[in-house]
Structures are given as C-alpha cells and as structure tokens.
C-alpha cells in the first residue's frame, strides 16, 4: 500500500463520518430533494471526466472521456435543477 492510498483512505473515512453525522433527523418532505441533491453531488466525477477528455484526440480514451463528460453533466445540471424546482415549490407555499 502506498502512502497516497493511505492518505486517500484517511480522507475517505473522515468524509464518511461527516456524511453520517450531518444527516440526522430529516423531515419526510425533504427525503426526495435530499436524494436528488446528493445525487447531483455525486456528479463530481465530472472532474475526472474532464481530465479524461482533455487531450481531445480521436482515441478511445478521449471518446470514453467525452461520453463521461456528457453523462456527468446530465447528472449535475439535471440533478441540481430538479432539486431546486422541488424546493421552490415548498418555499412558495411557506411565504403566504
């Protein structure tokens, strides 16, 4: 095991703890928005997709990268917008 892997594991474990702790009691109304918001966050893999596609060559790796960018962007853009749409609905109601 390399030092880089170990450090990754440290960071991973700590972030898991943070993830477990911040989600505690959550009202049922927010289950779906949280799900779709978190889902959008998992689109962070877009960073990797950009790195994969950066050569812009016609080689397989770049084509895979392009596909990855498209999929990841759908996930990110769609996810955040859909979440906002849902939450907007609740907020509107509360203001009255």
């Amino acid at each position: 095991m390399t030092e880089a892997l170990i450090i990754g594991i440290y960071v991973f474990v700590l972030a898991m703890f943070v993830g477990f702790e911040i989600i505690t009691k959550i009202p049922p109304t927010l289950h779906t928005p949280l799900m779709s918001g978190a889902n959008a966050v998992s689109g962070i893999t877009i960073v990797g997709a950009i790195i994969a596609a950066r050569t812009g060559s016609a080689e397989i790796s770049s084509i895979l990268g392009l596909a990855a960018i498209i999929f990841a962007t759908i996930n990110v853009v769609g996810g955040f917008l859909v979440t906002d749409r849902m939450l907007h609905m609740f907020n509107q109601k509360k203001k009255r």
């Binding site: 880089a4 799900m35 939450l87």
Partner: protein
C-alpha cells in the same frame, strides 16, 4: 493528481469546494435552509469544474465544451420538462448517468495511460504502470459504476411501467448473483494484482464491466416497483462511492470527499426510509416484497370482502355538507388520477362553508418520500394545512369525516392490530376513529402491500368506487349545486 502536477491554489479551491458540499448537504436537511443548501452544492460543483479547467493542461477544448454543452442541455431540458410527479424516475436516470460517468472515467484512464502509450503497449499493464492500488480502485470504480448504471435503468423502467413493476423472481437468483459478484470481484482482484499480460488484463476489465452490468439488472429486477425509492436511494449511495473510487484512481481529494459524503448520506437516508416502512433493508432488497406469492392476508378482489357498502357521490355530499371538520388522507391513487387540483377545489368549497379542512400526510404515502407533499404543493395547498402523522393521529377522534383519496396501506388497521400481517408494526393513520370515513378508490384491489384492508368493511366506512379525479369532480359539482 496523477494526471497533472500539484498546484496549491487548485488544492485550496478544491478544499473550498469540498467545504461547500458539506455545508450544502447539511442545509438540505432543514426545510428553511434546503434551497440555499442546494445552491451552495451547485456552487461547489461549479468551483470544482472551473478549478479543474484552470488546472489541467487542456490540449483541445472542443470535446470538453461539446460534452458540457450537450450534457447541460439534456440535463436542463429533462429537469424542466418532467412533471413533478415523475421525480423518482428522473432521479433514477440522473443517478444512472453518474454511475456510468464514473465507470467511463476509470475505463478511459486505463486506455489513456496504458493502451495508448506511444511505447510498445505489450510491455506494460495498468498495474505495472500506475501501481497496484490505482489498478484496484480503477476496477472498483468500474464495478460500482456499472451496477449503478443498469440498476438505475431497471428502476426507471419499473417506475415508468415500461417493464412490470412486479418483482421478477428468477429461481436460483441468489446463487446467480453471488456467482456474478464473486466473478467480478475475483476478476477485479486478479486484474489488479497478478496480471502481467496487457491483453489478458484488458479482457479481465471488460469481463468485470459486463458482469457488473448484468449484476445491476439482476439485483433490481426481483424488487417490487413500489420499493424503487429505497433502491434509488441505495444506488445513489453507490454512485457516490463510485465517484470516491474514481477519486482514488486520480488521487483527487475533492472526489473522495464528495463521493464519501454522498455514499454516507445515501446510506443513512436509505435506512430512514426503510424505518418509515418498518422493514429492514435486507427485506427490501431480497424479500421479493409485492410478488404474487407474498404471505398471509393476500387479497386480490372483491371476493375477499363482505359487508362493503358502496355509496354514490350524491349521498356522500349529504354527509359532507354537515361536517365541521374534515381530514383528507391522500395516497398513491391521488397521484395516479392526478386529482390534486380537484381535491383542493373540494377542500376550498368545504372551507367556504365553515368546515375546517386539513390533510393527513403519512410519511410513506405514495411511491416516493414526500410524494404527497410535492403533489399537494403543485396544487397550491397551503403548507400549514399539511399535518404529519404524529400531529394528525390524535385528532381523528374529534373529526367528523375523513376523506381517503386513493390511499390503502397507510390506513390499514391491520398494521396495528394483526401481528400476522406483513405490514404489522408500520405506523398508520388511525382514520377509523373518525365519525365517518369515505374511501375513494376504483375497486377492492389491494395497494402496494397486496393485502386486504378491513377498513373497507367497517360500519362507519363509505366506499366511493371510481377514479379519484372523476369522483372528486362529481362531488365538487354536487356541492356547487347546493350552493346555488
């Protein structure tokens, strides 16, 4: 980062982005802060993307821009076009995209760093070039990403009704799944540890990919359509873990952190959802709940019921017009009939006559968490009128009438009375305590749990058979006639 040189500025930007993700997700857990939380997460994502673009040596912008624009347009279009009530399907699809992207990134890294090297490609393997642990995390990323992709697609199809929502229980499916999993993991480990031949390594990788794609299908197929929200939440957690695995491959902490955040919060949310249905996660995943052969108390049609009294809308209005308090209990049927606007119209008419109208919302009514809230919010029902289960349950004994619109399991008294019932222990709405209970549904067919509901036989229950929207429209019409 393996692909680029270390830059402190970019590392700091990534850190800020990770912090914003934490703050954003935390915000999403409170109604007051949810929207800002989502906004902060989106900002974090933007920051991460910009930092990446600044950081890496982009050799050609074309594909990156094409990818961003195409994906962005599709995503935005989908997000704005779909009706609110199809949210779970949409989230499933988006989630599948995330899984696919993680798997594709890992595959692309393999091609790029090994197969497409200028030197003799036959001489190097992923392991010899990148090291054992990146090779291992690559294959983990591919495995989890692929399972997420096909699992999400099956969930989507089930929710859309394009394939049967019924659990498909293949014989020996547990053994088959175990074999596939063992094959994928074994192939992956062999890929990372022992392969010295690049051709073999490539074959192994493709083998793992295919096996995990199949596994994703087989894992979700045996789960009933109505359990899909739980499955999606779990797959959402997986897509986070896939992103984290990609982060290990690229040695990028921001991916590891955000991926782990999603992985952990997805797991917690899945557990919360299972708890609300009073079932274990294992039961959801492997129980084949809702299949034809589901346990005792199964009911298919009217033959199981005695003493059911059916009423016409006119008769119902005679009761309703004298009510001083009404609780509307919506369920999945409201969504099917798209009757949210009509129910609101009726409620407004009643309120005008001085009746106090509230809505009793069961946490798992409908087919996704918050389903009823979303539906009624679309019909502009004031937020204050929506009462949660714990608030409304003590009120029923003082309520004149309850109007159950397309709900079934969430008002089934067996859940608290009959220990043999499959839903025994799930907290339900005690509508039977009210003076009169009106139930609108099309027939005596069961709800999601596939069991009989003796509420329909109670003496204070009036059944109004028909499509929810049609019945409600007739009620509204009768009411208006009275008013004239």
């Amino acid at each position: 980062m393996s692909a680029t040189a270390f830059s402190p500025l970019v590392a700091i930007l990534y850190l800020v982005s990770a912090i914003l993700f934490v703050v954003g997700l935390k915000g999403l857990t409170r109604v007051r802060t949810a929207r800002r939380g989502n906004f902060l997460s989106a900002l974090a994502m933007l920051l991460a993307i910009v930092a990446t673009l600044v950081h890496i040596e982009v050799l050609s912008w074309t594909w990156i821009l094409v990818g961003l624009v195409v994906g962005g347009v599709i995503g935005a279009f989908a997000a704005f076009r779909i009706p609110m009530t199809s949210m779970p399907e949409m989230v499933a699809l988006f989630n599948g995209c995330g899984g696919a992207a993680s798997a594709l990134v890992a595959l692309s890294i393999v091609w790029q760093s090994v197969l497409e090297r200028g030197e003799n490609p036959a001489a190097v393997t992923v392991t010899s070039l990148l090291g054992t642990s990146p090779a291992l995390t690559t294959v983990i990323s591919v495995l989890i990403g692929s399972v997420t992709l096909t699992g999400s697609i099956v969930a989507f199809l089930k929710l859309k009704g394009w394939i049967s929502g019924k659990p498909v229980l293949l014989p020996g499916r547990h053994v088959l799944n175990l074999l596939l999993l063992a094959g994928s993991v074994g192939g992956g480990v062999y890929f990372a540890l022992s392969a010295t031949d690049p051709t073999l390594q490539l074959q192994l990788l493709l083998g793992v990919t295919v096996a995990s794609l199949v596994l994703g299908v087989l894992l979700v197929i045996p789960i009933g359509g109505a359990d899909m929200p739980v499955v999606i939440s779990l797959l959402n957690s997986y897509s986070g873990l896939a992103a984290a695995a990609t982060g290990f491959v690229l040695q990028e902490n921001v991916l590891i952190i955000s991926g782990a955040l999603v992985g952990a919060s997805g797991l917690i949310l899945t557990q919360i959802m299972c708890k609300a249905m009073n079932r274990s996660l294992a039961n959801v995943l492997f129980g084949g709940f809702g299949a034809e052969d589901s346990g005792g108390g199964a009911a298919k049609d009217a033959r199981d019921y005695v003493n059911v009294t059916s009423y016409s809308p006119e008769e119902a209005v005679l009761v309703l017009e004298n009510c001083e308090s009404l609780v509307v209990v919506p369920g999945y049927g409201l969504a099917v009939a798209q009757a949210q606007h009509t129910v609101r119209e009726l409620a407004d008419l009643m309120a005008k006559r001085g009746c106090q109208v509230t809505y009793g919302i069961h946490p798992v009514a409908g087919r996704m968490p918050g389903h009823m809230n979303v539906l009624l919010a679309e019909a502009d029902v004031p937020y204050e009128q929506l009462l949660e289960m714990d608030t409304v349950n003590p009120e029923f004994r003082n309520t004149d009438a309850v109007l159950v619109v397309g709900a079934n399991d969430v008002v089934n008294p067996a859940a608290s009375k009959d220990p043999a019932s499959p839903i025994f222990g799930m907290p339900v709405l005690d509508v039977q305590e009210a003076s009169t209970v009106m139930v609108i549904k099309r027939s005596l067919s069961p709800g999601f749990a596939g069991i009989k509901n003796e509420l329909f036989e109670y003496d204070n229950t009036m059944m109004l058979f028909g499509d929810a929207k049609k019945i409600l429209q007739e009620l509204v019409k009768e009411f208006k006639e009275i008013a004239d």
